[in-house]
């Protein structure tokens, strides 16, 4: 199976690889997936007082599409408000990276990671976590 140029680009030159201070109240961390399933994503966001995401970092254990999906997600997150970030849909990632059907789960995982990071941030700051629909699992 051939990868799209965009997947190869993100895989070869991943954006925003790294770690933010997860103890900071400004940072939300989402860790999704499982080693047994062959993919684990950790996505972190740093949020300012205006609810704008000022920084995003990721690390991913998984195939090229999983790495590219999370790399793309961090690119998209930076500069977005939390509300706009919540609206990112996995199918946007599928479309942008031209993921084949067998790799759609990678985009689902990236969407889950975004939402998990946002919820972690909300809980840390005394807000209710947002109810997530788990329909696509």
């Amino acid at each position: 199976m051939a990868y799209s140029d965009k997947v190869i680009d993100h895989y070869t030159n991943p954006r925003n690889v790294g770690t933010l201070d997860k103890s900071s109240h400004k940072v939300g961390t989402g860790l999704v997936g499982a080693p047994e399933c062959g993919d684990v994503m950790r996505l972190q966001i740093e949020v300012d007082d205006n609810n704008v995401i000022t920084d995003a970092k990721f690390k991913t254990f998984g195939c090229g599409s999983a790495i590219a999906s999370s790399s793309l997600a961090t690119e998209w997150l930076k500069g977005k408000t939390i509300d706009d970030a919540m609206a990112i849909d996995n199918m946007d990632i599928v479309e942008e990276l031209a993921l084949p059907p067998v790799k759609i789960h990678c985009s689902v995982l990236a969407e889950d990671a975004i939402k998990a990071a946002i919820n972690d941030y909300r809980v840390k700051n005394g807000l209710e976590p947002i109810e997530l629909e788990k329909s696509h699992h």
């Binding site: 990868y3 895989y11 991943p14 770690t19 062959g38 950790r42 254990f61 195939c63 789960h105 889950d112």
Partner: protein, 403 residues
Amino acid sequence: MDLPIYLDNNATTPMDPRVLEAMLPYFTNKFGNAASRNHAFGWVAEEAVDYAREQVAKIIGATEKEIIFTSGATESDNLAIKGVFEMYKDKGNHIITAVTEHKAVLDACKHVEKMGGRVTYLPVKEDGLVDLELLEQNMTQETILVSIMYGNNEIGVIQPVKEIAAIAHKYGALFMTDATQAVGKIPVDVNADGIDLLALSAHKMYGPKGVGALYVRRKGPRVKVTAQMDGGGHERGMRSGTLNVPGIVGLGKACEIAREEMASEALRLSSLRDKLEASLTELEESYVNGNKQYRLPHVANISFKYVEGEGLMMAMKDLAVSSGSACTSASLEPSYVLKSLGLSDDLAHSSIRFGLGRFTTEEEVDYAIEVTKKAVNHLRELSPLWEMFKEGIDLNSIEWAEH
């Protein structure tokens, strides 16, 4: 050095030019049907088939009358297992095999179960070898066949076939072995090993795809299999269908070359393999899978912990290898062979199989080492699991969300 480099010789091998040369005339001017008994075209083809039968018999210490030509090892496995079951089912209905067998054996056994047979799938030890005591415990008066592969396609371990055959025979059962990965790579002798049926394939030993053979013992005991293909009664009635003369000539030639060059080639390949393994296990948290003493000379299966195999292969551009991870399959299940060694799923997902071959050079192996090391390090930089490991976090203590 040309790129990409082919290191997947357990999947298939390139054809040796000497094999191709031997085959070519049988596509064109020597095109006869080996079953045409009444003219020269047929005689020429028949003579070539007879010669190939001798070449194939010789590499496994058999006689030419014991060789049945097939379309490959999958067909040979099917013919052996279903054919023995149908032929001997009045004697007993029990077959023993192992969980690390090739799908051709496992699925033929599943078919036998549907036909009313009972099949025991033996687990293997951590090093991939069959536990002989466990085998013996499972033998019954009903056991008609024990089918255990010679060398494993994923991890390369060599089963103690001689001991397994002895146990099978002690209980009056036949012993069959899928020797697809072993024949042509290591010495195999059906008499010394006590083999009653043996499957082999041309394309794993530098011959053409689409041709293989089944060895069926003729003496002590005389083994029979029920044909699975009805037709003109070719191959002593066991496998009907016009013989693939060019393919058979190629298989014969491939066997001849392999037999002549095996000893020196095994030494060369095992030294290259050892170099590859020694260099790659210099990387932290990398492990060789399978028994390291009893194994084929040309296979190395290594798990690089905390990186995922498919992602890793993508970074190993210009290297054609294979992975125990199956991220593309719907089930996301990693290799059943690696899992049956007791490897956790994450380690199975992290494995790469390197299969060296006749045309692999030291320069290529050196290049592969360099590329693999770089790729593993690159992916570990990206791996949250590697970071956790480095921070001393026990990954088993984390509640992962299975998906």
